[in-house]
């Protein structure tokens, strides 16, 4: 089985926000929820880089560790998913996540956040694959259709890579060797305790 990961090659990202828009459209994500976002580091300065970030589907996911109702699970493809039926909207996962991935439909005052929503790596939730019930809660299930996450698939500069961790690491390594530089595998050391050495 593949170990699915995201990798944003920041040296290619042009901050077009198409991944953000594609994600919102593909999954009909409600207003205020951003499963994916683009953050620009050192904005306006020489050497600025933009990084597209969503759930990194960590090894030993801290969200799953703190969840009071244990609603997270890891699929055979190593994608971290959760059940909105079990989620109580306590907000713990947001505070445990190093990447700001968990999102809530409402502002958190008085414990009224609503059910947590986050990137599913385009692979739905616990409901049966490609059903309406799954789509309403989690969005489309492209993995079940044999496709990769849409954000990465439609990235115009192929900055955002999705797929098996070893394969996308090889692609990135080859790019760095060819062009002679790379700003790093953003988030990998935090999510997987490793980075891509070239």
């Amino acid at each position: 089985m593949a170990r699915m990961k995201f990798l944003c090659d920041a040296d290619r990202c042009i901050e077009c926000q198409a991944c953000v828009t594609a994600c919102k459209n593909e999954h009909e994500v409600p207003w205020g929820i951003n499963r994916r976002r683009v953050v620009t580091i050192n904005d306006g300065l020489p050497g600025e880089r933009s990084v597209s970030m969503a759930c990194m589907h960590c090894d030993d996911a801290p969200c799953a560790a703190v969840c009071p109702v244990d609603c997270f699970y890891t699929t055979a493809d190593a994608v971290v998913l959760h059940s909105k039926d079990t989620c109580i909207g306590c907000g713990y996962c947001f505070y445990a996540c190093p990447f700001g991935a968990p999102q809530y439909p409402r502002v958190g005052n008085f414990g009224t956040r609503g059910k947590m929503d986050k990137c599913t790596y385009c692979s739905g939730g616990p409901e049966a694959d490609m059903t309406q019930a799954e789509y309403v809660k989690y969005g489309s299930n492209r993995l079940a259709e044999g496709k990769l996450p849409l954000c990465a698939e439609m990235c115009s500069t192929k900055s955002l890579l999705a797929g098996d961790g070893d394969i996308i690491a090889d692609i990135y390594r080859e790019r760095v060797v060819t062009r002679g530089y790379g700003s790093g595998a953003w988030g990998w050391r935090t999510a997987y305790g490793e980075t891509i050495s070239v």
Partner: protein, 339 residues
């Protein structure tokens, strides 16, 4: 053909030579502007505790500007580590201590036996405040503990769906019952603070171990003995800490940064665990641990002999103030005039 090639080579050489001589400073400056950039590794190495690698974001949620915040994992580890350990050790430890104490000392009896005559110890307002505080605390403690260890203890028994529903209701109960808890805390504080200021009698009471460990030992005490004062101040200080941090958790905007919210959460959970252990001891001594103690908060009327054994100075004060009316005869009815 060869001549032409040689000619081209010569031209090329000339051009290269021209550049080589004419433009060495330019060549040195010709760096690839995209090559030097921020490096993930450098930024991560430079991070101080609590900091995040962050940048500009185009969505309204300013918190989303934090790209990577590795310290959030520390909070997660503390929650599943220290916080859980403190709670489990404090609560199980207290239960073990109390079972040991019960086996050693048994139920503490009224040594001179019940007299049948009673004295009013707590009035209706005091009892109402106490039971409001008690009932809300028990629900808050159980629903709070559920968030910490429920997934290990209750989830395997009742299943994911039922546990999700239970925890969702538990969260609502926790969020709303916090307010009557805080109200009761204020009433209890106002009602009893004057009786709980430490004084000389407490030193003697502590020296004699409160008479807890030996039969026939009854150090004098006023309305509250030193042990009860410890409970009172634990409840007031612990309750105030729980109230403050709890309100911060309910309103994350008030708490400030997520690091502050995390700190409040850790304090809240640790104080709650210690408070729960203290309250378990309080429940023990107020029920199965001591004969006659429950009446103080039940009917509000305690047996005269119980009062004299445990709160001798208080009985004297009360009799001095109210005379013989302080003590009601057996049956609890007021004295009937002779026929």
């Amino acid at each position: 053909m060869v001549h032409k090639l040689l000619k081209s080579a010569a031209t090329l050489f000339a051009v290269v030579a021209l550049f080589a001589f004419a433009a060495p400073p330019l060549a040195a400056q010709q760096v690839n502007p995209t090559e030097s950039s921020v490096q993930e590794e450098q930024l991560m190495r430079a991070l101080q505790s609590g900091e995040a690698v962050s940048g500009r974001i185009t969505i309204p949620d300013a918190r989303a500007g934090d790209l990577i915040k590795p310290d959030n994992k520390n909070w997660a580890a503390t929650h599943g580590g220290t916080v859980k350990t403190v709670n489990v050790v404090a609560i199980l430890g207290m239960l073990v201590l109390l079972v040991g104490f019960y086996m050693y000392r048994g139920k503490i009896r009224i040594e001179s036996g019940p007299s049948g005559r009673t004295i009013q110890r707590f009035n209706a307002v005091e009892r109402f405040a106490h039971w409001l505080l008690a009932a809300t605390f028990i629900i808050l403690a159980l629903t709070g503990l559920n968030l910490l260890i429920g997934r290990a203890v209750i989830l395997p028994i009742i299943g994911e769906s039922a546990f999700g529903t239970l925890s969702a209701w538990g969260k609502i109960a926790h969020n709303y019952l916090a307010w009557p808890f805080m109200a009761a805390l204020v009433i209890v504080f106002v009602a009893w603070v004057l009786h709980n200021i430490p004084n000389k009698t407490d030193i003697e009471w502590i020296k004699q171990g409160g008479g807890l460990f030996k039969k026939g030992v009854h150090p004098p005490a006023k309305k509250f003995n030193a042990g009860q004062k410890v409970i009172f101040w634990s409840v007031i200080i612990g309750g105030a800490a729980l109230s403050f941090t709890g309100v911060m958790l309910l309103f994350p905007e008030l708490a400030g940064t997520s690091a502050q919210w995390q700190l409040y959460q850790v304090i809240h959970a640790i104080v709650a665990g210690i408070m729960t252990a203290i309250i378990i001891a309080h429940i023990y001594i107020g029920s199965v641990g001591m004969e006659g103690a429950f009446d103080a908060m039940g009917s509000g009327q305690v047996d005269e002999n119980w009062a004299k054994e445990h709160h001798a100075l208080w009985v004297e004060e009360k009799q001095a103030r109210e005379g013989s009316a302080a003590i009601k005869p057996a049956g609890g009815a007021s004295p009937q005039p002779a026929e």
